[in-house]
C-alpha cells in the first residue's frame, strides 16, 4: 500500500488526521532506554527486597525440618567432603587445619553454584509473575541473587561456628571481620553471574543440564577441596586459575579465617574488577532482551 504506516510517530499522526486525540499515546512492549530502566528498577526496590526475603524464608517450607536446612545442608555437604578428602584420599598433607580449609572451600563455592543455577531457572520459574504484572524484568534475577545472599548469611555463620567447634578448635580473630567485605564482593560476583545465566536460561533451558559439568570444572579450578599448589606447578595453567574470581574469594576467606592475616591487595582488586565487570556486563546483557521475557518459548 502506498500510505503504509510503520513507526509509532506515523500511527499518532494518522490518528490525529482522523480527528482523534492521540496525544497521550506512547509505544508499549518495547525496551526502555537504560536511564529509564534503572529508574524503573529503583522504583521496584521494595518489590525486590520483599520478594527475595520471602523466597529465602519459604525455600524450605515443604521440608519437615524447614529452615533448619539453611545450616544443615551446607554442614552435611562439608562433612561428606571431609570424609572423602580428609580420611580416604588424605589430601590434607601439610595443612594444619584441614577441616576449616574444606569448610570454607565447599560452603563458599556452593553459594556461587546456587547463584548460577537459580539464575538459569529464574525467568521460567517466575513466569506467572511476569505474565501477571509489568515490572522491569531484571527485578527477578536481582531478587534471586539477593535470596541466595540472604541464604548465604546463614551458611557463613554456620561456617564460622563450625570452624570454632571442630578440631583443632580455631578461635575467632580480628581478621574474621574481613569476611564481611569478602562476602559482599562474592555477592557482587554472584549477581553478575545470575544476570547472565538468567537470560541464557530463558532462551536455552538446556543450560540446567550442563550446570553440573560447568560446576565440576569450576570446583576443581577453584581449589575447593585441596590446595591447588599441591598439584600444579607455576605456569600458564596456574596463572589462569589465579585469575579465577572464585579461587581468589575462597583463598581470601581462608587467609582471613585460618591464617589470621589480611589478604593481599592484588586479590581484592582482582575480585572487585570481576564483580563490577560481571554485574555491569550481565545487566546490559539481560536488559538488551527486556521486552522478550514475557514470551512463551515452550
Amino acid at each position: 500500500m502506498a500510505n503504509e504506516v510503520k513507526s509509532s510517530g506515523e500511527v499518532i499522526r494518522a490518528l490525529e488526521a482522523r480527528g482523534h486525540d492521540a496525544s497521550a499515546l506512547s509505544p508499549i512492549g518495547v525496551r526502555p532506554n537504560l536511564g529509564e530502566y534503572l529508574a524503573l528498577l529503583w522504583g521496584r526496590r521494595h518489590f525486590i527486597w520483599f520478594d527475595s526475603r520471602h523466597r529465602a524464608a519459604n525455600q524450605n517450607s515443604r521440608n519437615r525440618l524447614g529452615n533448619l536446612w539453611l545450616v544443615l545442608r551446607p554442614l552435611l555437604d562439608a562433612a561428606a567432603y571431609y570424609v572423602i578428602f580428609g580420611y580416604i584420599l588424605k589430601t590434607d598433607r601439610g595443612l594444619e587445619n584441614f577441616p576449616a580449609f574444606l569448610l570454607i572451600g565447599v560452603l563458599m563455592f556452593r553459594s556461587t553454584t546456587t547463584a548460577i543455577s537459580s539464575g538459569a531457572n529464574s525467568m521460567r520459574g517466575s513466569r506467572s509473575m511476569i505474565k501477571a504484572f509489568t515490572f522491569p524484568r531484571a527485578s527477578i534475577p536481582i531478587s534471586n541473587a539477593l535470596q541466595s545472599a540472604l541464604t548465604a548469611v546463614y551458611t557463613m555463620l554456620a561456617m564460622c561456628a563450625a570452624i570454632v567447634v571442630v578440631p583443632p578448635f580455631a578461635l575467632p580473630q580480628m581478621t574474621w571481620l574481613l569476611l564481611v567485605p569478602i562476602f559482599l564482593l562474592h555477592t557482587l560476583v554472584n549477581l553478575g553471574i545470575t544476570l547472565i545465566t538468567a537470560r541464557i536460561g530463558f532462551y536455552f533451558p538446556d543450560l540446567s543440564n550442563m550446570m553440573s559439568v560447568i560446576g565440576r570444572f569450576l570446583m576443581y579450578g577453584s581449589g575447593v577441596m585441596f590446595p591447588i599448589s599441591h598439584f600444579l606447578n607455576p605456569g600458564l595453567f596456574m596463572d589462569i586459575i589465579t585469575l579465577n574470581p572464585l579461587f581468589r574469594i575462597i583463598d581470601m576467606a581462608r587467609t582471613a579465617l585460618i591464617d589470621g592475616a589480611v589478604p593481599d591487595l592484588g586479590s581484592w582488586l582482582v575480585v572487585l574488577a570481576w564483580g563490577v565487570l560481571l554485574t555491569v556486563g550481565g545487566f546490559l546483557f539481560f536488559w538488551s532482551k527486556e521486552a522478550n521475557y514475557g514470551r512463551d518459548l515452550g
Binding site: 500500500m1 502506498a2 500510505n3 503504509e4 504506516v5 510503520k6 513507526s7 509509532s8 506515523e10 500511527v11 499518532i12 499522526r13 494518522a14 490518528l15 490525529e16 488526521a17 482522523r18 480527528g19 482523534h20 486525540d21 492521540a22 496525544s23 497521550a24 499515546l25 506512547s26 509505544p27 508499549i28 512492549g29 518495547v30 522504583g43 521496584r44 521494595h46 518489590f47 520483599f50 520478594d51 520471602h54 519459604n58 517450607s61 515443604r62 513466569r127 506467572s128 509473575m129 511476569i130 505474565k131 501477571a132 504484572f133 509489568t134 515490572f135 527485578s139 521486552a291 522478550n292 514475557g294 514470551r295 512463551d296 515452550g298
Partner: protein, 344 residues
Amino acid sequence: MAETSDDAPDHDEESTLAESPWVAPERSPVTVAAHNLRMRYKVPRTDRTPRKGIAAKLLPRKHMVAVAAVRGVDLTVREGEFVGIIGRNGSGKSTLLRMLAGIEPPTSGVVLTSARPQLLGVSAALMGELTGAENIKLGFLALGMTPDEADGKFEAAAELSALGDAVDLPMRTYSSGMGARLKFAISVMAEPKILMIDEALSTGDATFAERSKRKMDEMLGAAGTVFMVNHGAKTIENMCSRAIWMEKGRIVMDGDTFDVTKRYRSFAYRMAQNREEEAMEYLRDAFEEGAEQRAASRLTSPDGASEVRSGLPGRGPDPFTGIFTQETAARRFPGGRSDSSTNS
C-alpha cells in the same frame, strides 16, 4: 452492521438495545492504538501417522511449524470504552491481549497506549508458597507501590477478593476461581487506567461477578478503558459497549456489541449443531461484511492524497476469506498448512 459509515472508531452507542451494558462516551482521547499487529509462533508439531521401517523410525517425528496466532489487526480504542473480544478457542484473542498489554512484543506491528495496561489472565498462582495476603502485598509492590501504599490498600483488596480467612492460606491451595479473584483484586486496587481481562472472571461465582462488574463500571467512569476476552457471547453482551469478533487471528467484525454478538451467536449455534459447512459459510459472509469496517480502521498516512478508502478497490473480497472455504473442504489444523520447516 452493513452501514459501516457510522461504524468508525468514534461511533455513538445510542442504538444499544440492551440496558445493562456500559455506554461509552461519544468523544474521548485514544488510549490504545494497534496497527497491523502480527504474531507468529514456532511450535513443534508431532507427526502421528504410523510409519514402517527402521529408517522411518529414526527420522524425527517433530517438525517446527510456524503458527500465525494473529494476522494483522488494526484497532483504536478510546477512554471509557468497554471492549469485549469474542471468538472460538484458538482464534487469537488472548495473544492479541498479551500484545496490547505489552507482555509479549508482536512479531510485527505497533502498539501504542496512554498508560501501562494491567492484564489479568488465567495463569497459575503467582507465588504458590506465599499466602494470599503476601501475594497481595507482592503484587502491589510489583506494580510499583511503596510499602506504605501497599499496606494502605491491603484491606480493600482483601475485601474485594472476598476470600475471607483463605487469604492467609498458601496460594497453591487456591481453586482457580479464588486465584482469579485475588488477582482481580490486586489489579483493580492498583487503579490501572487500562484493564485487560482474559477469561479470568469466568471462573468466579455470581456474587463476585456482580462485585467485579460494579468495580469495572467505576473504573470506566473514571476515564478508564477495559478489555475483556470471553468465548461466551452473553457476558460480553451484558457488559461491553463494543465487541470484536475474532477468528483465525483476524477481526471478523468490530462494532456495536449487540450486532456483533448476535452474529457470533448465530455462528456458534451452527457450529454447536455440527452444521460446520453452514457455519463456515456464515462466517465468510460476516467476514466480508466486516471488510469495510476493517479497511476504515486501518491507519494510513495522512500525507498521501487519498483519504480512507472504503473496501479494497480492484481486489474484490479479501483473499483471506478463502481460508474459510478451504477449511470447509479440508478441515485441517490451520498451523499445519502454513509454511513448515524441518528441524534436523
